[in-house]
Symmetry: D2
C-alpha cells in the first residue's frame, strides 16, 4: 500500500454551504479530480480546515469520500490529545482510510523535544490499525521535529512516512540517506516540490494540487523523466499561484481560486474570512498570469 | 455573578490514574481547596491539560466538580473550532458552569488579527448561554490579542472579562482605563500577580494557587489592604516556586509539587513526561527554600 | 555617583540636519531639558539611533553634551565587538561620561547564554574605567539575559545596574529581592514605569521622557509620595502617546512628536523614514487627546 | 568580473592568536586554499566573526589577503549604519576588494520592510565604487528580505547579486525566473547547495568550504556535469559535518574542525567560547564518519 504514496496528492478543501459541511459539493470536486493523474487524497490537512471540523463531520466525510473513490485515502487524525488521535485514527480506518496523518503535538511547545515525540508517536503507532505518517508543519504549530527524531521513528513498522511542510529540502535529502527505502518522504508545500523530489521525496501533498492538479503532475512527471529543466519551468510558473493560495491569502484564497477554476470553493469558517473584492481581483490577475484562466 | 471574579482562583490540574481521569483524586484535591480563601475554580486551563482531554472526560469533570462545590466554576471551552467551542460551552453551562473561558483561536496564526477575533468572539458570545471570558496566552498559542480588540469586545454584554497570561501589566492598566467597570481583568500568571493587581486586575487565575493557595491569597489580601510592601514580599517569595511549576518544569513540575505538598498530582499524559529524579530533587529544594515544605 | 540613577532620564534622540549630526539642535533640546526634573541623560540608546552613528560622531556628541550639562551622563557603548565596546567606553569616560550602558551582544543569538554573558560582561567591567550598566532589550536584539545571570553579574564591583526594556516587571521584583542595594534597576520603557517602580526600580530611561518629561516625572513623584492611584492615572494617560512613539511609529514617530512639541526632532537616518502625512495627522491627534498639544 | 561569482567560495574565518588578529595564520590558511578549486574568498562573513572586528582590523585583513591572491575578493562591509557601510566599502575597494557584501540592516526589525530595504540598498549602491551583493541571513538578523524586493533591486546596475542564507531554494528558483541573467544568486549555506544549484544558483559561499573545499567543489562539479545523483551523494555525506560547524557548534566548531584538518582555527573571540572536551570528541567523530580524518 505504501507504494501508493508517490506522485501528487491534493489535501482536499472542505466545502461549506451556509457554514455546514457540504458532502455534495465535496463529491462534485472529487469527481473532477478522479480524472486527473492524482495518486490519492488527503482529508483534513491544514488547508482542509481540520481544526474547524467536529469529529462527526470528519467521520461523515471519510465515509462519503471512501464510497466514491478507490484511490488512497490519507486522513488527518492527529492532535495534542493522544487519546483522540488514536480513536479517530481507528474509526477512520474502519471507514476505509489507508493512512493516518498525525501532526506533531504542539501546545506545550517548549517541551516538545526528541523524547516527547518518540514517546508520542510510538504509542500512536502501536495503537492504530493503519500505518501512520508524521506531519511536520512548523508554520502552524511553531514546533519542529528534528531529522534525528524522524530517523529513529522510521524504524517502527507502523510509521511509514513523513509529510514535511518546511521549505527546507535538505531535511528530505538527509532523511533519504538515513531511512529504509520503504519510508516515504512527502513534500508538504508546492514551493519546494521540484527541489524536494530532486532531494529524494516520492510524493507531494500540495494545496496547489486542489487548483492546478495537472501542473503539479507535470512537475512530477518531468522529474521522473529526468527532464529537470522542464520540471523547474513548470515549478516556477506555479510559484506565484502557490503563494497566493498559501502565505498571501491563505485558505480563503485557496477556496476563491477553486471557485474561479470551476471547482467549488466557497467560504472558510470563522475566524477565517472570505477574500474581499480587491483581493479577489488580485487573485484573478495572478491566475491569469499563470494561464490558469483567460 | 461577575462579582465573583475577584481574588484567587486556581486552574485545577487534572489527575490521572493509569492514564485515565480520576474524579476521585480530583475530589480529594477539591475538598482541600474548599477550606482555603479561593473564589472559584477553573477547569481546563492550559495546565489542566485540557488539550489532552476528550469531550466526554471534560463533561464528566464539570458535572462532578459542580456537584461538590458551590463556588464559581470557570470552564475552558475554547478551541479553533467555533462549533465545538459553542457546543461545549453550552453543555458545560447546562452542567452548572458559570463562565466559559475561551482561548484565542490560533492555528492560522498569521491571519488571527483584529477582525478575525472580533468576528469569532462575537459569534461565540451570541451563541453561548453563559458569559464568556477571553483567554490570551501567547506562550502557548503564539498569537496575541491586542488591547484595542479587547476594548471593542468588552462592550458586548456577554463578554465579561479577560484572562491575560502575558507578563505585561501595562495591558491591564491600559484596559482598566478603557473598559466599563463590570469587565473583569484577570491576571493569568503568578509572576505578575502583584503588579497586575496594582494595575487594575480584580483576580488571578494562577497555576501557583494549586500548590500555594494561601500565599497567593496573602498577596491579594495585602494588596486590598494597601499593604503593598508586604504584598510584594509574599510575591517575591513565590517567584522561584512559580518558575519551577511553569517555565522550568511545566505541568509535570506542577503535578510533582502537588504530590510533595499533600495534594494528588500524579503524571501528566503523553507527550508530557513526569519529572526525573534529578528534577524532583531540585524541585524539593525550591519548595524547601520557600518554606512550603520542611 | 550611583545615587544619581534615580528618577527620570531621557535617552536623547540624535538630531540630523541634511543627514549630518547637528550638535546645535542637540544643544537646543538639551537646554530645554535642563529646566525639567530630570536626573541625567542617556546618549546612544536604541532610539538615539546609535546603530546609525559613527564612532567619531558619538565622541563628538559626548564631548558637546558634557560641556553643557553637569547632570549624569550615561553613554551607550556596547556592541557585539568587545574590543570596540571597551575602547569606546573608555574614550567616552575620558570625555566625561559617568556610566557605560552596554547592550547584550546578540549576533550569534543561539549561543548567547549564561556563560557567554558572564564572560563578556566581566571582561568589559574589568577593562572599563567607569561603572557599567547592563542593557537588555529583546525587542531589538532577540536575545534575553536571564535574571539568574544578572544576579551573578551584580556582584561585580564595576557592574552597577540594569536597564531592562522588557515589559515584565516580575524581572525587576525578582532582581530587587536578590541583588545588593547599590545595584540599580532601571525601567527601560514607559509602558511599565508605574509597575516597575512599584516592583523595585529606582529610575526610568524612557523614550517618552524626550517628549513628556514632566508627565514622566509626575509618575515618579507620585510613586515616591505613595500616591499610587495618581501615579497610575498619569501612567494611563501616557500609554497612547508612548505607543505612538515606540511600537506604532518608532523613532520617526518620536522625532515627529518632538517637532510638534517644540523640540527639534527632524528625520531619522536611512533605512528609517520620516512619517508620511497620514501618520503625522494620527500622531497629532494622539498628542491632542493626551493634552500635550492643543 | 561578475562572471567570477560561480563555483565555491569560502567565507574565511578570522584567526586570533592571544585574542589578536593573526594575519600570519590567515595567510597560512590562504596559501592552502590557493591550490584548491575555489573561485574566490569572502572576508567578514558571519562566520568570519565580522561583528567582533574593528574597522582597522578589517582593513588590514583586506590589504593582506589582496596582496597574496589574485582571486575574487568579496568583502562583508554592511551594517545598520549606512554611513559606515559606504565608507568601509569604499576603503575596501581601494584596497582591492571586488565586491561589497552588504547584510540587511536589522536593528529596527519591525520597520525593515520593502521600502526601507529599497531605499537603503539603492543609496549604498549609488555611493559605493564596487558592485554590491545583498546578504540575507535571517538566522542572525531575524529579518528577511522578500523576493519581490530583491527583484526590484536587481535592476540597479551596481547591485549584482544575492547571497541567500535561508535554507529555502524556492527563493532561488523564483528569483532566477525574474532577474536578468547577470544577477548572481549565491547559496549561503551548504545544507542546500545541491538544491540551490538545481534551482538556479551559480555559486555557494559556504562555511563548509573552509574545512572541506574539495567536497564542496565536487557537489558543484557533478551538478555542472548533470551527474545529479553523484552531486546528491556528496551533499548527503557533508550534511553532518555542515551541521556540526554551523547550527550545532557554531563558529567555535568551525574553528575546531579547521584545527583538526590541518588549517589554523584557534579560538573565537568573546562572547563566543572554544569547544569543551566533550564537544571536541563529538566533532572528531563526525569528521571521522565523513572520512575527513582517519
Amino acid at each position: 500500500m505504501s507504494n501508493n504514496l508517490v506522485g501528487i496528492i491534493p489535501p482536499l478543501i472542505t466545502p461549506f454551504v451556509d457554514d455546514e459541511v457540504s458532502t455534495e459539493k465535496l463529491l462534485e470536486n472529487l469527481s473532477k479530480y478522479e480524472s486527473h493523474m492524482l495518486s490519492g487524497y488527503v482529508l483534513f490537512g491544514s488547508n482542509g480546515e481540520s481544526v474547524f471540523l467536529t469529529r462527526e463531520e470528519k467521520l461523515k466525510i471519510v465515509q462519503t469520500v471512501r464510497e466514491h473513490t478507490s484511490r488512497t485515502l490519507v486522513v488527518g487524525t492527529g492532535w495534542d490529545s493522544i487519546k483522540e488521535t488514536i480513536s479517530l485514527s481507528n474509526e477512520a480506518a474502519e471507514l476505509g482510510a489507508n493512512y493516518a496523518l498525525v501532526i506533531t503535538p504542539s501546545f506545550f511547545k517548549s517541551e516538545m523535544k526528541h523524547r516527547s515525540f518518540l514517546n508520542y508517536y510510538t504509542r500512536v503507532a502501536e495503537s492504530v490499525m493503519i500505518p501512520i505518517i508524521i506531519y511536520n508543519v512548523p508554520k502552524f504549530t511553531n514546533v519542529n521535529i528534528e531529522v534525528e527524531t524522524i530517523i529513529e521513528l522510521s524504524t517502527h513498522p507502523n510509521i511509514i512516512g513523513l509529510k514535511d511542510s518546511t521549505e527546507n529540502p535538505s531535511r528530505i535529502s538527509e532523511l533519504k540517506a538515513n531511512v529504509h527505502s520503504g519510508f516515504k518522504l512527502i513534500v508538504g508545500t508546492a514551493s519546494v516540490l521540484y527541489s524536494g523530489l530532486l532531494s529524494g521525496a516520492s510524493a507531494g501533498i500540495l494545496a496547489l494540487a486542489n487548483v492546478a492538479p495537472d501542473h503539479c503532475y507535470q512537475i512530477y512527471r518531468f522529474f521522473k523523466e529526468r527532464e529537470f529543466d522542464k520540471a523547474l519551468e513548470f515549478q516556477n510558473k506555479m510559484i506565484p499561484v502557490n503563494k497566493a493560495i498559501t502565505s498571501k491569502f491563505g485558505v480563503a484564497g485557496l477556496k476563491a481560486a477553486m471557485d474561479l477554476l470551476g471547482y467549488f470553493g466557497g467560504s472558510p469558517r470563522l475566524p477565517l474570512e472570505p477574500l474581499n473584492e480587491a483581493q479577489q481581483i488580485e487573485l484573478k490577475m495572478i491566475l491569469k498570469n499563470a494561464s490558469l484562466i483567460d
